[in-house]
Symmetry: C2
Subunit: 336 residues, 2 copies
C-alpha cells in the first residue's frame, strides 16, 4: 500500500533474500544454483507485489533496450500495411522484445524521438533521409530497410500476369503510379510485370503511370483507358499497381461505359478492405503479411546477431478470384 510501484528490492525484502538472488531467479539464469524452495519464495513475492521490472533501469544497465522501432513514414502504399505491422508485432513479441510504431511527423523529428526512446534496432519500410541515416549511425542504432530487389519480390506481379494469361489475355495494360514516394515499391513491381510477360511469351505490356498516391486521379485513368482501348491491338485486361488503382480503373470504366469484365478485365493487388465491395467485385492478389514482415524481421535478427545470415526471402501470395476478370470476349463490343 505504498502507492508507488514496487522494485526488485521490495521483492527481495518480502522473500527474505538479497536483491541479487531476486535478479537471478527472475531472469532464469542457469549458471547460478538456486534451490526450488528459494525460487518459489521469490516468484511468489514478485507475484504478490505485482512486480514489473523497471524498463529504463534495465535498459540502462544492459546498455540496450528491448524495443524495436518501426518507422512508418506515411508512404501511401496500401491500407493493409497494418497487416504487416501486426505480423511484425507478433514476431518481435515472440523474441521477448516489443515492437512500437512511430509515425514520423517530419524529417527532422527523429532526433527528438531517439532522445526519448532508444531502440535496439530500427526498421523502416521506406527510405530515410541521409540526415536520419547519419543520426541513427551516430547513436549506434542499426537500421533495417526492406530489400525490395530481393528475389521473390516479383511474385505478386507474376501472379497477376499468370491469372490473366490463363484466362486467355495477351494484350495487357499495366497501370502504375507516378507518385515519387511510391517508386521504391512501384519499380520492382513493374519489372516483375515485364519479366512475367517475357517468361510467358506474351507481347510487351503497355505500361502507364498516373499521378496521385492514395488519391488516384480517375480522370487520368479514364484518359489512359481510352488510349489503350481505341488503338489497334486494344488491351483486353489491365493489371494494377494496387487495389486503389484497380478501383479507380473500375470507376473510370464505369464513367466511360466500358463493361467490366465483359469488355475489359481488371486485376488488383493487395486484397484491400474495399475489394469485395466494388461492383464488379475486384479480383486481386493477396499477399500474406509474412511476405514483408518475415523478411524484415530476419534482417533485423541478423543485425542483432541472432541469425547467422539473412534468411531466404520466401513470399507467399495467392489470387483472390472475384468478378472483375473473365476470358476476353472474341468480339469486343463497339467503342464508346
Amino acid at each position: 500500500m505504498t502507492g508507488s510501484r514496487s522494485t526488485s528490492a521490495d521483492v527481495a525484502r518480502r522473500a527474505g533474500v538479497s536483491r541479487a538472488t531476486v535478479s537471478y531467479v527472475l531472469n532464469g539464469r542457469t549458471d547460478q544454483s538456486i534451490p526450488a524452495n528459494t525460487r518459489d519464495k521469490v516468484l511468489a513475492a514478485a507475484r504478490d507485489l505485482g512486480y514489473v521490472p523497471h524498463a529504463a533501469s534495465r535498459a540502462l544497465r544492459r546498455g540496450t533496450s528491448n524495443l524495436v522501432l518501426l518507422i512508418n513514414s506515411g508512404v501511401p502504399w496500401s491500407t493493409n500495411v497494418t497487416d504487416v505491422e501486426d505480423e511484425l508485432t507478433a514476431l518481435v513479441a515472440a523474441s521477448g522484445r516489443s515492437l512500437v510504431v512511430w509515425r514520423r511527423p517530419g524529417a527532422d523529428a527523429l532526433q527528438g524521438t531517439l532522445a526519448n526512446l532508444e531502440p535496439c534496432v530500427a526498421i523502416s519500410m521506406d527510405a530515410l533521409t541521409s540526415g536520419e541515416n547519419r543520426l541513427l549511425a551516430t547513436v549506434g542504432v542499426p537500421l533495417v530497410a526492406a530489400d525490395l530487389a530481393a528475389p521473390g519480390t516479383g511474385l505478386p506481379a507474376d501472379l497477376q500476369i499468370e491469372h490473366l494469361a490463363r484466362q486467355g489475355h495477351r494484350r495487357i495494360g499495366y497501370l502504375t503510379t507516378d507518385e515519387p514516394s511510391l517508386q521504391r515499391f512501384a519499380t520492382p513491381r513493374t519489372d516483375g510485370i515485364l519479366a512475367a510477360c517475357v517468361r510467358r511469351g506474351l507481347p510487351e505490356p503497355r505500361i502507364a503511370g498516373v499521378p496521385g498516391g492514395l488519391a488516384v486521379d480517375v480522370a487520368a485513368v479514364a484518359g489512359q483507358l481510352t488510349r489503350w482501348l481505341n488503338g489497334r491491338d486494344p488491351v483486353t485486361a489491365v493489371a494494377c499497381f494496387n487495389d486503389l488503382h484497380a478501383a479507380a480503373c473500375l470507376a473510370a470504366a464505369s464513367d466511360l461505359r466500358i463493361g467490366v469484365p465483359t469488355d475489359l478485365s481488371v486485376i488488383g493487388l493487395d486484397d484491400d478492405i474495399f475489394a469485395p465491395l466494388t461492383r464488379p467485385a475486384l479480383t486481386t492478389v493477396r499477399l500474406g503479411p509474412q511476405h514483408f514482415a518475415r523478411h524484415l524481421w530476419s534482417l533485423a535478427r541478423h543485425h542483432l546477431g541472432e541469425a547467422p545470415g539473412p534468411a531466404a526471402f520466401t513470399p507467399t501470395a495467392h489470387i483472390v478470384e472475384r468478378a472483375s476478370v473473365t476470358s476476353p470476349s472474341p468480339f469486343p463490343s463497339p467503342k464508346r
Copy 2:
C-alpha cells in the same frame, strides 16, 4: 572516433566544463546563470560530437519517460484511424514527448511490453480488459480512454441527418454494425442519429445492424434494403455507420438493381480512402482528425498535470458532397 556513442561526460570534457554545467545548458535551465560564452562552448561541443542524451538514463533519473503509448487494439473501426494517429503524433511531439503506437498482439501481452518500455501515459481508443487496467494501475501508468459520451460526439451523425433532411428526405434508414467490438463506437452514433431526427421533427428512423466489422456482409445489407424499400412508407435514404457500410450498401443496391441516387440516397461517414472511387461516388462526412486526437490529448495532458481540467470537446466535421445523395424522387420507380 571511439566507435561508441558519446555521453554528456564526453561533451563536458570537450567543452572544458563539468558535467553539471553541460546538463544545465542542454536542458536550458533558467534558474542557473550561465554566461553566453560557456553556453556556446557546450553547445558547440555537443553538436560536434553528435550528442543525443541517453533515453534510458534520463527516464531512470527523472522517474518518468517522455513516451506516450497509444494502444491500438485493432478494432476494425475505419482505415483512417491513421489520420488520428498522425494528428496525435504531432500534438505529442509538440510537447517534447514522443508517441509510439503499439498494436497489441493479445490481451496478455501488455505486461511484457510494459517491462520493455514505460510510458508516462497510455492512450487507448478501445476498452481494455480488466486485467490490463489493473496492470497499468499497479505500474502507475495513467490510462486515457476516449469519452465517447462527451457532448459533441453526436456531430457527425447529426450532419448526416441534416444533409439528408435538407435534400427533402424524411423516411431514413440507419445502417449500423452488430460487431461487438464496435458497439462502443456504434451506440453513441445511433443515439446521435435518433437525437438528430427528433430535433428536426423527422419520423423515427429505421435502424438495423448487420454482422461483420471490416468485412461487411453484403447479402445481409441487401436483405435489409429490400425490407426497407418494400414495406409501406419506404425509406428514401440510408445513412451508414461508416464508409465501408456505405460501400456495402452501394454494392447491395447494385446487386438488387436499385438505382443510387435515383431510387435511394446513401450517405457514409469517414471519407474513407475509397469513397471517391465508388460509383456513384460516395457522399460522406469527413471528421477532422482533430475530432478524436485533440480530445484524447487534452485528457492525457490533464492526467499529466499540465492542463487544469479536461478541455471542452469541439469536434470538427463537414459534408463531402459527391454523387450518392440527391432529393428523393416524387414518383419512386417500381420495385425490383
